[in-house]
Symmetry: C2
Subunit: 209 residues, 2 copies
């Protein structure tokens, strides 16, 4: 949700943006942005379709939204193929939606993309932050840049995540309130833009430049 809205916002601000959904666990940007009937074209490579002005690519194009139980090695091969053949054109930003936690996809992206920046998304729950913390530790150990942590789905303000982010030497980028209207905006970018959630994404992009 954060990746999709961020891509839409950066495009709205006049940037040239690509969105790549590599969330093997749960690819959902096509549901969130209502992308149907748009397919990549082949011409000396794969040209991603323009969806809401974004160059759009998703692993669902490889799995046709069928159950796609990819083994680790297949995940790596799929990522390498997508990165090798996709003709993104000139982009200011390529937003990549990654699966939660640390797995093959994350390790591959770190290995394959030299100029990568991580935006880490947590929920307010201790349980979620414990996972996020491991990811932050790993990124620090690998000397990979992190923009910071965003706290999503906040029901009531707490200081747990912001304090932990401080301990973990990571910028706390702010809270995004749980927005019950978001579910009804799924599939429609115009409705998405009117949500409180999107307002928080607008603030976030201002904050991180």
């Amino acid at each position: 949700m954060v990746a999709s809205a961020l891509a839409i916002r950066l495009k709205e601000k006049g940037h040239s943006v690509g969105l790549l959904d590599l969330d093997f666990t749960s690819p959902s940007s096509h549901v969130i942005l209502g992308i149907e009937g748009l397919y990549p074209e082949e011409e000396y490579g794969i040209i991603p379709p323009l969806a809401h002005g974004l160059r759009y690519m998703s692993i669902t194009y490889y799995s046709q939204d069928e159950p796609a139980p990819l083994r680790g090695a297949d995940t790596s091969n799929a990522i390498i193929e997508i990165l090798a053949v996709t003709l993104w054109g000139n982009l200011d930003y390529l937003i990549v939606d990654m699966p939660p936690g640390i797995g093959d996809a994350t390790l591959d992206m770190i290995r394959l993309i030299k100029r990568i920046l991580f935006l880490v998304v947590s929920t307010p729950s201790k349980v979620a932050y414990e996972t996020v913390r491991k990811q932050i530790k790993l990124l620090h150990e690998l000397d990979i840049s992190t923009i910071g942590v965003v706290e999503n789905m906040v029901m009531k303000p707490t200081t747990y995540v912001s304090e932990r982010a401080g301990e973990d030497n990571t910028a706390y980028l702010g809270a995004i309130n749980y927005d019950p209207t978001l579910e009804d905006a799924l599939g429609c970018v115009e409705l998405l833009k009117k949500t409180e959630f999107y307002g928080s994404i607008v603030d976030l992009t201002e904050k991180v430049g």
Copy 2:
């Protein structure tokens, strides 16, 4: 959360229960149940410690809660090792907490455990159910038994998930309301048992027998 509470409830009902946390994405049962300072013992195999009366094993014992970025093949090896060496004793139930979606861990468990039953947990969101649906489809295709779908973190009642479960020929086992008191119960089983969430798990175990 569902797996941990389910194990506690089955134990409370007098069953002999093991809990195995294989959620490589986000192992958290030790945080939820407040399991600290308990470790497996080695004696012709690995004997899981008794935690709240449960035989308890977690992949965090293999990663020491450090960032453990396991590649797919390593995931398989870790699972095979845990299943091979752990001496569970006589159990009525072994509850296994799995990562979300379909990945190496799920495929391995299907391959390695003959008498496996899946309890599928979704949230009310379309986006979550889309992922769950793929998992259900795969389980059907592989002829693996599914107990049904539980809808967790329900903020306001909707019929979306129950209707989809019907379309997917899967039992809808009911809704578990979002329970804001759950966060403060993390780490303390006695508090957990007093939550509305735990009450829903009690109902669930009665329903599925």
